[in-house]
């Protein structure tokens, strides 16, 4: 099958679209809950923590899939700068999807909070209690979230550019169309 080399593997596509939905939801949940004093604050927070850990686990699986199955090559005629931007942004996304849950977990640990994923499931702390570390990690969590959202916007714009304007098969390689 010639087409197989032009699309991402099924595992990569499923992980991509599942995690796209989860990460985008996570970003909106995150900025929404810290800007709310209503009951939304509580239920969004209750989703935020277990969803973050789910993203962390899936990101590890996805990294393994990525390293095992290299993605289809970018079009040969793509300008070098765009190739570099694609490569850099993809690895930035991998970094952020792994770093964000870890920072969140470390931040709660440093703040002295029990890391509760539900009413009774508690994760162990991964960082010693420290108000200074809490403050640094908490600001990093916001800063990286903003960076992740901007990277998502660029990623989505680039995908649509490939799909609508260049029509070079890059978008369809992730949609799974032949």
């Amino acid at each position: 099958m010639k087409a197989a080399t032009n699309t991402f593997t099924l595992a990569a596509r499923v992980l991509h679209w599942l995690m796209a939905a989860m990460i985008l939801a996570m970003l909106f949940i995150g900025v929404g809950m810290v800007a709310s004093v209503s009951e939304r604050h509580e239920w969004l927070l209750a989703i935020h923590k277990p969803l973050g850990i789910a993203i962390l686990i899936l990101a590890v699986v996805r990294l393994a899939v990525r390293l095992r199955h290299p993605p289809p090559p970018l079009p040969a005629d793509l300008p070098a700068l765009q190739k570099l931007a694609a490569l850099a942004s993809h690895w930035l996304l991998y970094f952020l999807m792994l770093a964000m849950p870890l920072i969140g977990w470390a931040m709660l640990s440093a703040g002295g909070y029990p890391v509760m994923l539900g009413t009774s499931l508690r994760l162990p702390p991964i960082f010693p209690t420290s108000p200074v570390a809490f403050a640094v990690l908490r600001h990093m969590h916001t800063g990286f979230a903003m960076l992740l959202f901007l990277t998502f916007l660029a990623h989505m714009a680039a995908a649509l550019y490939h799909g609508l304007i260049r029509r070079d098969g890059v978008l369809s390689s992730m949609l799974g169309q032949r």
Binding site: M33, V37, F149
Partner: protein, 359 residues
Amino acid sequence: MHDPVPPDSPARRIGSWALIAAAVAAAAVSFGYVGGWLAPQRLTPARLVNQFQDNAGTFAGYRRNHAKGVCVTGYFDSNGRAQAYSMAQVFAPGRTPVVGRFAIPGSNPYAPDSSVPIRSMALRFTQANGQQWRTGMNSMPVFPVATPQAFFAQLQAQQPDPATGKPDPAKVAAFFAAHPETAAFRAWAKTAKPSASFATESYWGLNAFVFVDANGKRQPVRWRMAPEAVDAGAAVKSGGADYLAADLDERLAHGPLRWHLQVTLANPGDPTNDATKTWPDDRRTIDAGTLVLERTEPQDSGPCRDINYDPLVLPAGIAASDDPLLPARSAAYADSFLRRTSEEAHLPGSATPSAETKR
């Protein structure tokens, strides 16, 4: 069938670019709205905490409310009687270590103890399974208002007038007139006097919570810490601004101080979403155990300094009720905690001790 517009026509290209721009703009605007940047009218934790700073100044490193306080440590000795209603480990017979904090309301850590008639007790119980119960209680049976919006309006009404340095009585009166739910609190406040001791006060949880037993059965509750010390305490020494800490020191030098955790069980239909109303007196109350406080330390160096007494840090067996004040407290405390820890870390953009305003 053929496409009436050729795939690479300029019109189609412009359409494609417009679609891309629209997708990015829609995502960015939604994000901005949800995050509050494009919804300036929404009450956010940051606006609540800013109002505290506007009312009393910014004191770097301190809590934005209940800024003046002392740390205490000890334990809770459960008698097992609350176990029938809550599966929380803290209610199994035996001891649970406690790190607590006594404080007075207000944002000024240098305020004299006599400036307000209210005292507060915050506690963190650390269960053997690592889960925690944190609670912040006040020495009054009801809260003035029922919603975060009304609380914010109250803070705004009490903001000192720059001309006089005092709240505008007309604004305060207008607030109370517009908020009849404050009546019970105001009736209490009329007779309340600043106590000479933290030890002789009762501390009410104010908000309702829900106990959950091992079978998942839910029982709405409220709690209060009732003191064993009932003496009038040493008379308030005139002139001393920090007599509460001194009194606590003196009492603890003679032995531990004790409170009884009184848990009141709601009847079906009792409101759980209104902290301005108490439940009828005939509701069943159980004594769940004894809080024993043994040591006190200054808050600057004591173990309570870096604890955010967020009332929604709860163990399995205690859950939030539908009281709208609870998520607002949780959200605002988190904002205050980030501000003071950022100041502790000297992060850029955080207030510095030199920016402190003493009033």
